[in-house]
């Protein structure tokens, strides 16, 4: 019944082959799996956030408070006041049960990106003033094309203040946003944003994205594993590119089919184009106290910033 070539050793099996570096296929697989797990954990998980005094505050109040403080942070000038805000935010985060490790990961990430953006502002090329450190001496008459350069490149004192202000603002804003996300599960946060006026369609799109991102990543991993299970040795670059393009096409087709099925499922349960969301719970005294505290902190920070 089986053809002659089936399960028989042949010249193909014995030919020397450039072996695929094991790491390349494994790297892609691990990257997909890790990305999928991370996204599923951060976006898809809707387990209740750590129980604390902050998770009990009504989500709308938390959003309003966070947005208020973020707006204040962008308006503050003095680095000492910005640092004080950071200390307050850190204290709130730690007492609200947000893990130290997660906080440190976020805080370490901010300078990495922000410093790359703000570093030129610390130089005398951008911010003139008394020099703190000399970076290099270019000598008189230095220029790049038509632009003249100073004879010495330095880090200036005003430049350091500008950079510090920027970094602290970024740290404060990112920390505030992170605490909001860490103490409020994603579906609740999206509902709060919808009730505060975010367009329903936008909220629904975000919610669907959160719901299905992990599903699609898993599908992408499955496609990759299916290909790996039938791969022996290395393919050339053009073949790999063709395969990747075909895989992207296959994933897009699945996405479209899934989108149509989801739409039908929504229609069959009465969706008529206007998404209805449930009524929010009423604000309580504790929520009012939270909002009042945020307003007081904001006012105090602004006053301190003006006085120093």
């Amino acid at each position: 019944m089986l053809p002659d070539w089936y399960a028989a050793a042949s010249a193909i099996d014995l030919a020397p082959r450039r072996e695929l570096p094991r790491r390349r296929g494994l790297l892609v697989r691990r990257a997909l799996a890790t990305l999928g797990e991370a996204l599923a954990r951060e976006l898809g998980a809707s387990e209740a956030p750590p129980a604390s005094w902050l998770s009990g505050v009504e989500p709308r109040a938390k959003v309003i408070g966070s947005v208020l403080l973020i707006a204040i942070a962008t308006a503050l000038h003095h680095p000492i006041v910005l640092a004080a805000l950071f200390i307050v935010v850190a204290a709130v985060a730690l007492t609200a049960g947000v893990g130290v490790r997660r906080l440190v990961r976020v805080w370490l990430g901010v300078p990495l990106f922000s410093a790359a953006v703000i570093l030129p502002a610390a130089l005398n090329l951008v911010t003139d003033g008394p020099a703190l450190f000399i970076i290099c001496r270019l000598g008189p008459g230095a220029h790049i094309g038509p632009w003249a350069l100073p004879s010495v490149i330095t880090i200036t004192r005003p430049g350091v203040v500008v950079a510090a202000r920027f970094l602290l603002r970024a740290l404060d804003c990112v920390s505030l946003a992170f605490i909001l996300a860490a103490t409020t599960d994603a579906p609740t946060l999206l509902n709060a944003l919808r009730r505060l006026g975010m367009p329903k369609a936008f909220g629904m799109t975000l919610a669907m994205m959160q719901r299905y991102l992990a599903v699609l990543l898993r599908a992408a991993e499955d496609i990759h594993l299916a290909k790996l299970s039938r791969s022996i040795g290395a393919s050339d670059l053009r073949q790999e590119q063709r395969w990747v393009a075909a895989g992207m096409g296959a994933l897009f087709r699945r996405t479209r089919r899934l989108a149509e099925q989801v739409h039908n499922a929504m229609l069959s349960r009465g969706y008529d184009g206007d998404v209805q969301i449930g009524a929010p719970r009423r604000l309580r005294i504790g929520d009012g106290a939270w909002l009042a505290a945020m307003a007081i902190v904001a006012a105090a920070l602004l006053a301190a910033d003006r006085l120093i």
Binding site: P187, A207, R211, A214, V215, Q261, N264, A265, G278, A279
Partner: protein, 282 residues
């Protein structure tokens, strides 16, 4: 839990006449199909893969629309206009529930309790009623512990329960089920059979599309058989259909292949759930 307004249903729920449907790409899905479904019936739509079972359910639920012939529900012809027009649209969506084959497509909200609340919210029910329905269906399907979970964290069996709960939260008097037993382990499958039986005794009309003959034997009284060329070839009591080996063989619902019993090897038409246990000539 009794479906709403079931006692008002004295006319056929569905009337299908000379139904023709083609896929957007041009392929034929259904050819000259005619039947009706009365309130309280348990009907199975049987057929091999690609015979048009799922498509037929989509047509019954007003998600697809007939290219030829007609599909009527509650005395109203289902067209793109009528399905969207209140008050019929409201009544239709409330009365007819559809359990999709792909639970991932059915569960599109971020959390189980949101999923269950979706349908009642679309019906514009008061918040208190919505919350009551969510609590009731969680208890009915024994999934209270899944309330705050995300659908992607659930097993297939749990997803099926949640999907069913999300449909039941609207209180339908008719339930369309597309391959409900696919991907379920034996215990979950048995649970589903018993649950559907309870629903039926509460007055819910069941229409199940499946090629799983053992499942259908336990959940239907009447069978509509679709052939591989997309025609309705038999409409008869389930027992008669499942006993007609030639019919089942002709529509690719059972097969014949060689199998061995000790020293004896033979081939005949059978189902794997029961067919290997039989007498054979010595």
């Amino acid at each position: 839990m009794r479906p709403v307004e079931w006692s008002e249903l004295s006319e056929p729920i569905f009337e299908i006449e000379n139904l023709e449907y083609r896929y957007p790409g041009g392929g034929v899905a259904l050819r000259d199909v005619s039947f009706s479904i009365e309130p309280g019936e348990r009907v199975a739509v049987l057929g091999a893969n690609g015979s048009g079972k799922s498509t037929l359910l989509h047509l019954l639920d007003g998600l697809y629309f007939a290219g030829g012939g007609s599909v009527s529900a509650f005395g109203t012809r289902l067209t793109e206009e009528t399905v969207d027009m209140p008050p019929f649209s409201h009544r239709f969506r409330r009365q007819v529930g559809f359990l999709f084959q792909n639970s991932d497509a059915q569960l599109f909200c971020a959390r189980v309790d949101e999923e269950l609340a979706f349908g009642p919210l679309q019906l514009r029910l008061p918040q208190a009623d919505v919350e009551q329905r969510v609590a009731d269906v969680l208890r009915l399907l024994e999934i209270e512990h899944l309330r705050q979970r995300s659908p992607q964290q659930l097993s297939e069996g749990e997803k099926k329960r949640v999907a069913l709960a999300s449909v039941l939260a609207m209180g339908p008097s008719v339930l369309l089920l597309d391959e409900p037993s696919s991907g379920l382990d034996p215990r979950t499958q048995q649970w589903l059979i018993e649950f559907l039986d309870e629903l039926h005794h509460s007055g819910v009309t069941l229409v199940t599309a499946s090629h799983d003959l053992s499942f259908v034997a336990d959940t239907a009284d009447r069978a509509l058989v679709l052939s591989e060329d997309h025609r309705l070839v038999r409409d008869a009591p389930c027992g008669d259909v499942l006993g007609d080996t030639n019919l089942l063989l002709s529509v690719n619902l059972i097969h014949a292949h060689p199998h061995a019993h000790g020293p004896v090897t033979h081939a005949h038409a059978h189902r794997h759930d029961s067919g290997h246990e039989h007498e054979h000539p010595v």
